[in-house]
């Protein structure tokens, strides 16, 4: 931690660790929470809509927009030529045009922007364009990209030891492949930005974004401006899940372009179908493996190929695929290993961040392999998992990851044993086998899978955060920090953290909108890091102010500052007690600074992105799930019957919020691996068009898909690292708990088939029926 001022005055434990309700809960249930489309519109506000390509790959030969311009209510139409600065909204590599310029690279790519006097008028006008394309060959899948050596970024290989030799010497060897589907974020609030031109060539943009600073930068670049001319604000999002980390940029840029050009406020809110057609999704993967192991299932050597569909541009595909490499070990020690990572360039939407950020795809690969090994050896998959776990951190054997980081708190084995006992794993495996022996149509499966997930941005520089705490003269406090609220409870936890430092009730602390004009140079609220980073920064700011107040109070009474306590809205030392607000007004009159900034940068982490070796993660978060499912071998339909989860959040700041993240992440992961299927038209007139572009065709879990028995428990413990109140990040890790559902389904398929079922993900009813082979 960056030294601020010495820790003075002990806060009273009265909010940390309690299940405080969501800071906006009352607003949510009464319809009073303001999302961007709910902000009262300034007079003169215009509305935008994109005109989308109807070609997966082609040159724009002619784009006739006369009818668009003539349509009722239209004020202006913009194309790439109208962009004053850089026509790019890419987060890392500049290959992401705001509006296609001569070349379209996927079906649904924005080519022009219509601005009209209503949302409806803009949408209607956008469909009036007459566009001619010269079609170019389209690459749609990861495998096609591999065959064509079509990359958004060069291939990466990571190796440790000699996998070839290990494979050659292993008693058993298996080769195989599996397809793992992508996923649409389906945040309930679609992408939206509301841009307001202001005096002196400045712009304020309300953006539904996880990354206000990046929105500020891309808008500035697009306009040919400098950063101090643009401010970006976000009070809350209606869901993000990674889908508003970089994908909000195109919308923010387009709204800002139109606002600058027209001199009027412009709102751009995407219709759901447009949103799903335009914005990136979770990368789908084609995975190949060659694994060698001994009689106990211990992995001796592994060669794995991880090829992903990145879409037409790089976006965040580099770090996403890096994280897949980092997570292919999950909880297992891989001794001799070679991992090839291929980043396929395809004529589809540019895939992006999504909860887990490539980690889930890497972990899925190793779990799939473990199941193969177990089946080949006739072992319980849990036993194969056990023999492959990382070793005791006290020793040196089997404790270092393939990227050179020591696993210092390997709690996976203990956590898994606890869950196996509490979920009656052994007995229920027997019960499932008995059920399957006496039922030919319905088959059950039971699986227990572990999770280990690395916490920190792999790009070390992003692991920093800032916050501002204002204590007003009446004793209330306002907190502004760099993290964004997308429902995960960040504002709730930070409010608890600051209330705790001052010993104040929560009502005395208010959270302000996240705004680049308050806290600058922020990182995305991503990588599960929101509370870890911003919580520490807010805590540091509060501690600085508290130290001044403590010193002031101590000096008043001639007591040592260490004697000062902040609790229950009071400040006390020895026999002296004063209401917090009374001390504050006195301090104000004594001209003591009552507001301050805090800053935090994560310690210990470093990593060489060329060799991919180092300590990219501050710590690991763990968990495990046990799922029981049933499948219908006549239709492929399935149902999750019971799920038991034990998850590690360190020392929880807010158990209710953490459990909410665990359950929500689990169900979202379950959707990814079961019913959520992205289907791009493979050929024909609309080749490359995403046909599952609305909830009518893209099926996220509904209420009845929530398992009727869902037991979720927090693992007792605390972070071995000095994280905020010794808690652990919880945003992403629980998503991977859903592997238990997938592998339980696979077990059920295998029980029906009589040999290991080649189940692909997502395990839709059709995929299940295919995996069990012809029946009846």
């Amino acid at each position: 931690m960056n030294a601020v001022e010495p820790q003075i005055g002990t806060p009273h434990e009265h909010t940390i660790g309690l299940s405080i309700e969501h800071e906006s809960g009352v607003l949510h249930v009464s319809g009073m929470a303001t999302y961007i489309d709910d902000i009262g519109e300034i007079a003169g506000t215009l509305h935008g809509a994109f005109g989308l390509s109807t070609c997966a790959h082609g040159r724009i030969v002619k784009m006739n927009l006369d009818a668009v311009r003539r349509a009722p209510g239209v004020v202006k139409v913009f194309t790439a030529q109208d962009i004053p600065g850089r026509n790019d909204c890419g987060p890392v590599i500049h290959d992401d045009p705001v509006l296609a310029d001569g070349l379209v690279q996927f079906y649904g790519q924005p080519m022009f922007l219509v601005i009209a006097d209503s949302h409806d008028a803009a949408r209607r006008a956008a469909r009036q364009a007459v566009v001619e394309y010269e079609a170019l060959p389209a690459i749609l899948t990861a495998q096609e990209a591999v065959a064509a050596e079509s990359w958004v970024l060069p291939p990466v290989e990571v190796r440790r030891g000699d996998a070839e030799t290990a494979l050659a010497g292993a008693a058993h060897r298996l080769q195989g492949q599996v397809q793992l589907g992508g996923q649409e974020h389906f945040y309930l609030e679609g992408q939206v930005a509301y841009a307001m031109p202001r005096e002196q060539d400045t712009m304020h943009v309300f953006s539904s974004t996880q990354h206000p600073t990046e929105m500020q930068q891309v808008v500035a670049h697009m306009l040919g401006w400098r950063s101090h001319q643009v401010s970006v604000e976000c009070r809350r999002m209606g869901g993000g899940f990674g889908g508003k980390e970089s994908q909000s940029a195109q919308i923010a840029c387009a709204a800002a372009l139109a606002a600058w050009k027209t001199g009027r406020p412009v709102k751009l809110r995407l219709d759901r179908d447009d949103d799903m057609s335009i914005t990136g999704k979770r990368h789908d993967f084609h995975i190949e493996y060659d694994v060698g192991f001994d009689d106990s299932g211990l992995i001796l050597g592994l060669k794995a190929l991880l090829a992903s569909r990145c879409g037409f541009s790089a976006d965040l595909s580099g770090p996403v695929n890096d994280r897949a490499i980092f997570h292919i070990d999950n909880t297992y020690y891989l001794d001799a290993v070679t991992i090839s990572s291929l980043r396929g360039k395809t004529n589809t939407v540019s895939n992006t961040a999504f909860r887990g950020f490539g980690g889930p795809q890497g972990m899925f690969a190793i779990e799939y392999i473990i199941e193969e090994i177990a089946c080949k050896l006739g072992l319980d998959p849990l036993d194969v998992r056990r023999v492959n776990f990382y070793g005791d951190p006290a020793g040196d054997a089997r404790t270092t990851t393939h990227y050179g980081m020591k696993v210092e708190d390997n709690i996976a084995p203990a956590l898994v044993e606890q869950l196996a006992a509490e979920s009656d794993y052994v007995l229920r495996r027997k019960a499932v086998a008995a059920f399957n022996a006496s039922n030919s149509v319905l088959k059950k499966g039971l699986s227990l899978t572990p999770v280990k997930f690395g916490i920190s941005f792999t790009a070390t520089l992003y692991n920093q955060a800032g916050a501002l705490v204002h204590v007003y003269a009446d004793g209330t406090a306002l907190v502004t920090q760099g993290g964004t609220e997308m429902g995960q409870g960040l504002y709730t936890k930070i409010r608890q953290i600051v209330a705790h430092e001052f010993g104040l009730p929560l009502d005395d602390i208010r959270m302000a909108s996240t705004d680049t004009s308050s806290v600058p140079n922020t990182s995305a609220t991503a990588a599960s890091s929101g509370t870890d980073l911003n919580g520490k920064a807010a805590q540091a700011a509060a501690q600085t102010i508290r130290a001044r107040l403590a010193t002031f109070f101590a000096n008043q009474h001639g007591l040592p500052v260490e004697a000062v306590h902040f609790a229950d809205g009071m400040v006390s030392a020895g026999a002296y007690r004063v209401v917090f607000a009374d001390l504050v007004i006195e301090a104000y009159r004594a001209r003591i600074k009552l507001w301050d900034a805090g800053f935090y940068s994560t310690p210990k982490i470093h990593y060489d992105r060329h060799t991919m070796q180092g300590r990219p993660f501050f710590y690991f978060a763990y968990g495990a799930a046990c799922a029981e499912v049933v499948i219908d071998t006549l239709t492929g339909e399935s149902r999750v019957l019971r799920v038991d989860i034990l998850h590690d959040v360190g020392k929880s700041i807010n158990p209710a919020i953490d459990i909410g993240q665990i359950e929500g992440g689990f169900i979202q992961g379950m959707g990814w691996l079961t019913t959520e299927e992205l289907w791009f038209r493979p050929a024909g007139a609309q080749q490359g068009r995403l046909m599952t572009h609305a909830p009518s065709t893209y099926k996220i879990p509904a209420a009845s898909d929530c398992p009727p028995i869902l037991n979720v428990k927090l693992y007792e413990g605390e972070n071995v690292e000095d994280s905020i109140h010794r808690s652990k990040a919880v945003g992403e890790p629980p998503l991977m708990l859903a592997f238990a559902v997938f592998f339980a389904l696979r077990e059920a398929c295998t029980a029906s088939r009589g040999s290991i079922a080649p189940l692909q993900a997502p395990a839709t009813a059709e995929a299940i029926l295919r995996a069990i082979g012809q029946q009846t």
């Binding site: 009352v26 009464s30 945040y187 219908d632 149902r639 929500g664 909830p695 209420a703 898909d705």
Partner: protein
């Protein structure tokens, strides 16, 4: 009919609208005209429930004579509110006190991002209003069914389900329906609605004669019932519908009648009521009824609309065809009946003449001539999905187990819902046995050539269609559980 403004009850008084397009949605009116932004848009097609509101209408069988139902405001057109009461999420809390449903949702941590929450609240509130006074706290299945039209991407639903039960533990806070009913009674005295704006007129005739006359005179007008499909023509295809004739006020179309041979369901009867009637006669409709869309869609949509729309994947038609349903058509004063399967001529083509409309469906009663009847829907997701395959079977069996008649129909297998004549022939006159079922399964290959699309491949559709025949046989001959809903952990 006389031209007049749209009038409905909202927040204690009568709202008059005279300047909105007839195809303006209730959601647009709330958000853009009233600036009541608590109700959200997230899909614009009635599939996610973020826009859920509650509509009140006159109904003698409902408590206080006021029926309260959840509806998707994103696909309901404003003139359909005429004579009704509209409730949105802002209306529940009174003087700063949250409604028990809202309070429970906060306490149970049922909201995370909060964007879907207003819709969940409204679905739960409708359920609470309709059940709190005289029924025990809802079961889990009852709650998940109530919420079948609401998607949440954050919570995983467990805390929301818990909130629905927790609300019951709090002191009862049901609304007083009488004052609303009194206003709706006054509104009912108004003449039938004819609402013109721009080049469009919205007609809401109240009798079938008025409807027949009007539609004969304006055969190009768009008939509108529940708006669960036509709504999307506007919100997604951005179509201009021209003149609209609304069926929701036609008295005769809202009727259900029985005799000992058949049940007659008026074309304007909601899916909710129609399925309740069908289930009362034949319990095998239950599973399909539950899986048919969602609660708000079933409240708005009509069985007549599902049939008249004629989608190849409409869920009701296979079952109705298998039972030998006749469709009653009217044009002017002329009425004719057709077997349902003869209504469909091809993809989105039907046998209706210009100015002719579906008046009712006549479903032979199962109690009159019991058959081995099953109708099943297979889709990616259990609730609120569109079928990959929808199947229905109705077999008459003699005492010695010979199939004396077989009616088999499928959706999702052809350009229209259609009977499987080859499979029927393979079974008819044969003993119901593994051999005859397998012959019928084989015959399905000559009945259908299904297509590949985003819902399923042709191969999958064919395999499932065949396997469902096998399931029918197993259900008839064994007692072991055959459906995933029948087993527990």
């Amino acid at each position: 009919m006389t031209q007049r403004a749209i009038r409905f009850w909202h927040r204690g008084s009568i709202v008059e609208v005279s300047d909105a397009s007839p195809q303006r949605t209730v959601l647009q009116w709330l958000r853009e005209d009233l600036h009541a932004t608590g109700t959200k848009e997230a899909c614009g097609e009635g599939d996610c429930g973020a826009c859920t509101v509650v509509l009140g209408s006159r109904d003698e069988s409902a408590p206080g004579g006021l029926r309260l139902e959840a509806a998707n405001s994103c696909i309901q057109f404003l003139p359909t509110l005429d004579g009704k009461a509209l409730f949105s999420v802002e209306d529940l809390a009174s003087e700063g006190t949250l409604h028990p449903v809202q309070e429970a949702m906060v306490e149970c941590h049922g909201s995370q991002c909060g964007f879907c929450t207003p819709g969940f609240i409204m679905s739960l509130w409708a359920h609470y209003e309709n059940n709190r006074a005289d029924r025990a706290a809802p079961t889990r299945d009852e709650i998940t069914d109530t919420l079948s039209g609401n998607l949440c991407r954050c919570t995983g639903y467990r805390p929301i389900i818990e909130a629905a039960q927790t609300a019951w533990q709090k002191p009862c806070a049901t609304m007083s329906r009488a004052p609303v009913r009194a206003v709706l009674d006054a509104l009912a005295e108004l003449p039938a609605l004819e609402y013109a704006n721009g080049t469009q007129t919205f007609f809401a005739p109240r009798s079938v004669d008025e409807l027949a006359t009007l539609y004969s005179a304006k055969p190009q007008a768009q008939l509108l019932a529940g708006s669960t499909d036509v709504g999307l023509w506007v919100t997604k295809q951005l179509r201009h519908l021209g003149d609209i004739i609304y069926l929701g006020k036609v008295k005769e179309l809202a009727q259900i009648s029985h005799n000992d041979k058949w049940i007659e369901i008026g074309a304007g009867v909601s899916l909710t009521d129609a399925f309740a009637t069908l289930i009362a006669d034949e319990a095998q409709w239950t599973e399909l009824a539950q899986r048919f869309a969602s609660v708000p869609i079933r409240n708005a949509g009509t069985l007549g609309g599902n049939v008249a729309n004629g989608s190849p994947i409409g869920d009701s038609m296979p079952g109705l065809m298998a039972l030998g349903t006749m469709v009653v058509l009217q044009q002017g004063a002329g009425i004719r009946e057709l077997p349902l399967e003869e209504l469909y001529l091809g993809y989105q083509k039907n046998a209706l003449e210009p100015g002719e409309f579906v008046r009712a469906l006549r479903i032979p009663r199962q109690s009159a001539q019991p058959k081995l009847f099953r109708t099943w829907k297979i889709s990616k997701r259990r609730d609120q999905d569109i079928a990959a395959v929808c199947a229905a079977f109705a077999l008459s069996l003699s005492n010695d187990n010979v199939v004396t008649s077989a009616r088999i129909a499928f959706g999702g297998m052809a350009a229209t819902p259609r009977r499987a004549s080859a499979a029927e022939a393979a079974l008819t006159g044969q003993a119901l046995s593994e051999a005859s079922i397998r012959a019928a399964m084989q015959a399905l290959r000559s009945d259908y050539q299904p297509l590949d699309d985003m819902r399923a491949s042709a191969d999958y559709r064919m395999q499932v269609a065949q396997n469902l025949l096998w399931r029918l046989f197993l259900e008839h001959t064994t007692d072991t559980p055959l459906r995933v809903g029948e087993v527990m952990a």
